[in-house]
Symmetry: C2
Subunit: 440 residues, 2 copies
Amino acid sequence: METEPARMTAAEASSAIQARKMSCEELVRSCLARIASRDSVVKAWLRMDPDHVVRRARELDKTAWKGPLHGLPWGVKDVIDTKDYPTTQNSPIYDECQVGRDAAAVAVVRGSGSLILGKTDTVEFASFGRKAVSTNPYNPAHTPGGSSSGSGAAVGDFQVHLAFGTQTGGSHIRPASFNGIYGLKPTWNRVSREGARMSSLTLDTVGWYGRSVEDLILVAEAFRIHRDPTPVAVKGLRVGVCRSPVWREIEPAGELALNTAAKRLAEAGAIVEDLELPEPFGRLHAAHTAIASSEGGASFLPEYINANALLAPGLKEKVENVLQITTQQLLGAYALADSCRPVLDGMFGPSLDVILTPSSKGEAPVGLHTTGDAVFNKMWTLMHGPNVGIPVCFGPTGLPVGVTLVGPRMSEPRLLAIALACAPVIDAEAEERKRRLWPA
Amino acid sequence: METEPARMTAAEASSAIQARKMSCEELVRSCLARIASRDSVVKAWLRMDPDHVVRRARELDKTAWKGPLHGLPWGVKDVIDTKDYPTTQNSPIYDECQVGRDAAAVAVVRGSGSLILGKTDTVEFASFGRKAVSTNPYNPAHTPGGSSSGSGAAVGDFQVHLAFGTQTGGSHIRPASFNGIYGLKPTWNRVSREGARMSSLTLDTVGWYGRSVEDLILVAEAFRIHRDPTPVAVKGLRVGVCRSPVWREIEPAGELALNTAAKRLAEAGAIVEDLELPEPFGRLHAAHTAIASSEGGASFLPEYINANALLAPGLKEKVENVLQITTQQLLGAYALADSCRPVLDGMFGPSLDVILTPSSKGEAPVGLHTTGDAVFNKMWTLMHGPNVGIPVCFGPTGLPVGVTLVGPRMSEPRLLAIALACAPVIDAEAEERKRRLWPA
């Protein structure tokens, strides 16, 4: 097992705390030291109070063990409320806005013994507008992705073990790919999104990052998403490779990641076949745009009215319906998505256990003016089912690239069990990531 | 026009303020006087600070006119955040919980010049659990309905002109019926529900109360729901009377209200015909239960974990899934609702302008241990379209009873225009309500 606490997976740290081989304070001090050495480059955090955090860790060391999340430190994307830090949304409108209540997801992990380390940088309102200043831990000239920029970078850079992100387009799974980490976007509304900034009610989903599938499962259990006790064998597993209706957007690194993952699974005995989606799925991308834009208009009306000059132009445009989405288009988009969801769910069964699909076009692009493109994530967000992001390999630029496993709605226990079996096969570079970012 | 400010409709008060015939301070002082004289009986308010409110009114009197909502006072159901009062959810868990941020709907009306008078009593979390202590203004032995109990009672009792409520089952439209007031439950997600306590994401909807359709329209315009300029004639209007699949639950007063409204419309020249819904609509009531219960499980998990002993048994049962709703049942309920929504929308057209349906089984029941039954509202909530509650008559117990007008999703401008035309025909007792509660 890893001996430097901050370099451990959450699951490893959890075991060490439970066995009393490590204190919560030792764990968090290791994270704080890593942050101190790296923050000037990675800039993942908007707000973090080391003294407060150490005090909380000491309290947790004196408290009866609350379960596997006891003492594990979290980064929380700063569009999600925590009662001990302001929620700024990375917007000048909410500078220092103090909300005396944890978001539902934060309350669940805090109540399960977790330690909220601090708030991570985000694209303004997890939507359009001001970008995070965070950088990709593998190369500060590149974006860590977004909008969950700081959460993705902090977990990837071994600064914190777990973090919350949110996804409306591809804001959770894409940073997982870019930062070489694991991420779960659960089924829409399976985890309460209360206290996470609303952008599009039909799309917004709270998810979490970790450094292994086991990490994701530990958190899922706190949300009463039970561990599936049935073991999964990669041999004989039916994997559908879905290049998706937007395959023309793929880049060499994204293709490499998908093909590498598929090849590794096939070599391990999985039955890997191409999966074509029926025609209506080709229209889901446009439906996502109509819904995100139209619902965003309602979400940002308060700021449009109260703080117009401080609101990003891209958000004003939603309120002004610059895309001129009609009621008919919006209702048509709902109807299309509503009809595709059961079709997708129904594809899973004896001939299909899991879908394998790109997490991103390729590696993280250069520059902090962009967070990359959500084109390979939007359809899956709209379909509401669970997605697990798994790292695969390094691209030609030396940055990590991942893939996504998709399951039918509400299938988290089974999908996580499949991911647990597949991850050691797909992700061959976990040690290499440590070597590059933080050699022992 | 009414001369006692608190007895006016919101639209009348708005005109008087705009014409500078009345100050915001005069208006709010009239409300405060009414509250002082009636609060010991009606008990609509959980939190209200008269000094703060008068100061705000004076500020508004010194501010440039911000539009039709300028100076109009609001009650806000205490499951909705306001930055100037705590949000208690009527739960001991959130006693004094101060949230430094307005809910989206509050921010919109505050930014449009409204004055937040105070927080109104509610059923715990607008769900199950502790009831409001508020009473029906027409008879304190009866409930004002719920869960928007205080908001309904305060508007009905002439204590405040406008109020926010929320609806997951029938929590907004039912109190409109029981308190002799007007209410709009807009299309799901047309008005941001951010900052309103989540119970069921698919169902929860923020709405508002007023004392006339014009009141509802003034508020709608602040939410960028534009006034439909096309005048509506009752003569020739095609009204479908929908007794709904739960008609067996109707009581004499509910039947009287529906028949009276239908008769008055027919006498005014409307083409009133019975409307039967196709078979699948009969299963929507059960689908509502599956969704509300299952989604409630995710919503109340934070309190279940952090404050179990203080959480109402009915809410614990959702987390524990006592109804044993399976994933298949939940997804089946979504699929049914998703398929019925476009069918319902499609019924409107040349042969159907509006649906007329009960708002409640009958009059407000006796006792404060109950808030009445949402059986006539649940299906419409699940269908996501706009509902307007309109008072009709008094029942045998001397309490008001209303009816609901229903339109297709996103049709608020047209539905409100229809309601504006129909209300003077349907609601023949507006003066009688004043006479009974507050004779001039």
